[in-house]
Subunit: 447 residues, 2 copies
């Protein structure tokens, strides 16, 4: 349990360094075990008091990351460990791949009009509010890039958290939920475009309208192009791969390898890897994957169903069909259980609780949270007949995307340690406050 003082020694280790007694790599096994198990224990505790699991993981991270304040330094080395950091990266990539897989492209197209409007307003209002009003007001004297980044972190609704809140409340099929989910996806995509624009601005140093247009064009071409090309190729590659080997492992490898490869490609052309992972998720339709072997339980039950349309058999068939169609999502899930919490726990670990000792910073965090909420509630005006406030509050939770923006900003040097802590506090507060308010609004609507 000795902390690592010479992390560079890690690189001198040959593969399977573990077996030879390297404590550096060996400790990572224990960290992963602790993060995996503790995240699973914190998530249901958060659920039990009405909060989404992701909040439990973030709070666990805040706890582990600040144990040093109590004199426990064991987790200090995790924070900067490159292997744990890479596993966290895989975590966000897998999460966005999952969100992409669970989103049907045609649903995105179908909600069209209103969701697009809500999505655009929902991203523009908090971005403008954060970058040009609240940022300069609460934190005077910073550079323009910092304000732009701040606006960007306020912009993106978390598809995962939003969807989960509605699902937990059993309201996924209401019109408000559909608009919110559609808008949240559009919102996510636009948010990623904003991230690409703002990041490039920071890296290039200056900004011209032509450059902005260039970045937007790159993001749109990458997203549109990879989805369009991918959907042209995927049915054929799936058929060919299934002919080579129709097993689940091949199906799994095709989906995950596409996610990793597009994440790499997005990264290579200067976009966020998660954009690539999300695009990869949108590529695959259950129909494309029909040539692969169905799950073992389906293959065993199917031949038992009589050919005639018996009552039981008729009710079982759609269940079998549905599970067979979604097996690629089911197979990615355990990968997510393993990798995704590492990202959220590691993110929580970046919060420095000593920030809270400074009343000025706490005031800024509360001001930012208010801006984050007001910026999203504005969209309620554009979705009145679907229950304006419900749609507005449905857009309030921030999550993975906002946190990713904050991380990128931190790396680019425009988001300071303090500002990062403020943003994580904002994400936690928006996520904390939404479920009780939404529950109250949805119950009042029913009465």
């Amino acid at each position: 349990m000795t902390p690592r003082f010479l992390p560079c020694a890690l690189l001198a280790l040959p593969p399977t360094a573990l077996a030879a007694g390297s404590d550096v790599v060996g400790e990572n096994l224990l960290w992963l075990a602790i993060i995996l198990m503790a995240a699973r224990l914190f998530a249901p505790l958060a659920n039990r008091v009405g909060f989404p699991a992701v909040l439990g993981e973030l709070l666990l991270g805040v706890l582990l990351g600040n144990l040093a304040l109590l004199g426990l330094n064991y987790f200090e080395s995790v924070r900067a460990d490159p292997i744990i950091a890479f596993i966290a990266e895989l975590g966000v990539i897998v999460l966005l791949l999952q969100i992409g897989l669970e989103t049907r492209l045609k649903d995105l197209v179908a909600v069209g009009g209103q969701a697009f409007l809500v999505g655009c307003v929902g991203i523009a209002a908090p971005f403008l509010l954060g970058a040009f009003l609240v940022g300069p007001l609460l934190l005077p004297g910073k550079e323009t890039n910092t304000y732009l980044f701040l606006g960007a972190t306020l912009a993106a609704t978390s598809v995962g958290i939003t969807g989960r809140v509605f699902r937990d409340l059993g309201k996924l099929s209401t019109p408000a939920a559909r608009i919110v989910l559609g808008a949240a996806v559009i919102d996510d995509v636009l948010g990623l475009v904003i991230l690409a624009v703002v990041s490039s601005l920071v890296q290039a140093g200056s900004v011209s309208l032509g450059e902005v247009a260039g970045i937007v064009a790159k993001a749109v071409i990458f997203l549109g192009g990879s989805i369009w090309l991918g959907r042209l190729i995927a049915p054929h590659s799936s058929r060919w791969l299934a002919r080579v080997d129709a097993s689940h492992s091949m199906l799994f490898a095709q989906v995950l390898a596409t996610g990793l490869a597009l994440a790499w490609l997005a990264h290579a052309i200067g976009l966020a890897p998660i954009i690539g992972a999300f695009a990869a998720g949108l590529l695959f339709e259950p129909l494309f994957l029909k040539d692969f072997e169905r799950p073992a339980i389906v293959r065993e039950i199917e031949p038992l169903l009589p050919d005639d349309h018996g009552h039981l058999a008729a009710r079982l068939r759609p269940i079998l069909l549905r599970h067979a169609g979604h097996q690629h999502e089911h197979m990615i899930e355990p990968i997510g259980y393993f990798f995704v919490p590492v990202f959220f726990v590691l993110t929580g670990m970046q919060v420095d609780l000593r920030t809270l000792a400074d009343p000025a910073l706490v005031a800024v965090a509360l001001g930012m949270t208010a801006a984050a909420i007001v910026g999203k509630l504005v969209v309620g005006l554009f979705a009145r007949q679907a229950g304006g406030w419900i749609v507005g509050w449905g857009m309030v939770p921030r999550g993975e995307v906002g946190l990713i923006f904050a991380m990128v900003g931190k790396q680019l040097g425009v988001i300071s340690e303090n500002l990062f802590s403020i943003i994580v506090i904002m994400v936690i507060l928006t996520t904390l406050v939404t479920p009780p308010v939404l529950t109250w609004l949805l119950k009042r609507q029913k009465d």
Copy 2:
């Protein structure tokens, strides 16, 4: 695609280094995508010509690792990348966890007698042959530790490969298969004890009978103790965890976190991490995990089955029960699809094909392979009524364990680059030669 010249820069990167444009971590995404996909393509090709998938993965590694001979240097940096190495480590740990989960402790106890005898002879004969006869004969002038390690790499049958060969031939339920599988597990455990003894001898420099007894005792106490204690605790911890959250993610986290934690513990007390992972796998019985939620498809179908004992319902119930009982194994599988090939591909990449240009080394490799085969065929004498030759040939394939031994020896400095290549060639040849011979023997037996 630039090779990494300053790997230490990696450590300076904060988490989510990717998004900010670090090519080092970004490239790992592409490598993983390539390894994942290529391994899936090579495995069925190997299967198609009658070889187990693991051979395809090894050969893929040999190919990728020697592309530099053709002037393609892209994969050179993968070989020494610490992140890929850690993922490979996780690969063997997950593999041994899976093998442990698929092995029923009572089956190990039940095959008892004959399997134990076959296992002991099957480990002793090739070890003695390799360490004291073939080693000194073919490679004169090396230190004693090198011969001991060489003997150890010849000793352990691959449970995975052996089981797979019998399964691929549809002969898993024959008496010969049962003995071979039981013996291979005992063989694996004894092999790991030999590894612990030999490694400690190399590290301590000298050897006393007391020390050997101490190492054997440590291994036996760790294996026995962790399994005994674990099986006392697991039913209670499972019940408690299922009460906190009965979801699949909790079940998955309990099993995987136990595997990682015991791998760490084994490593911390100086044993191979895989011993811990195997012990963790043996801990969990489906019965212990009965309080967790059943798979979604089972939960949907069950309420549809009529209460009376209808014909179809009666046939469906056992299928549902079986799948519910094995869901923890099914959930670990995708993790294996992702991690395990990285280990085998990376292992194959350590083979230097230039070794083959030296006729003396090729002769040694062939001699070693002959010793590896003869050493195992000896066990046939102890299992005559179950079909002696079939049992003997069933024990011939070497695999993950032998390769792990070779890796450890390479790190300890007693296995040279050349010798490592020889061992990998031996592993590949024993695996190549077994399926055709076994097929022929099994067909002859039927006639």
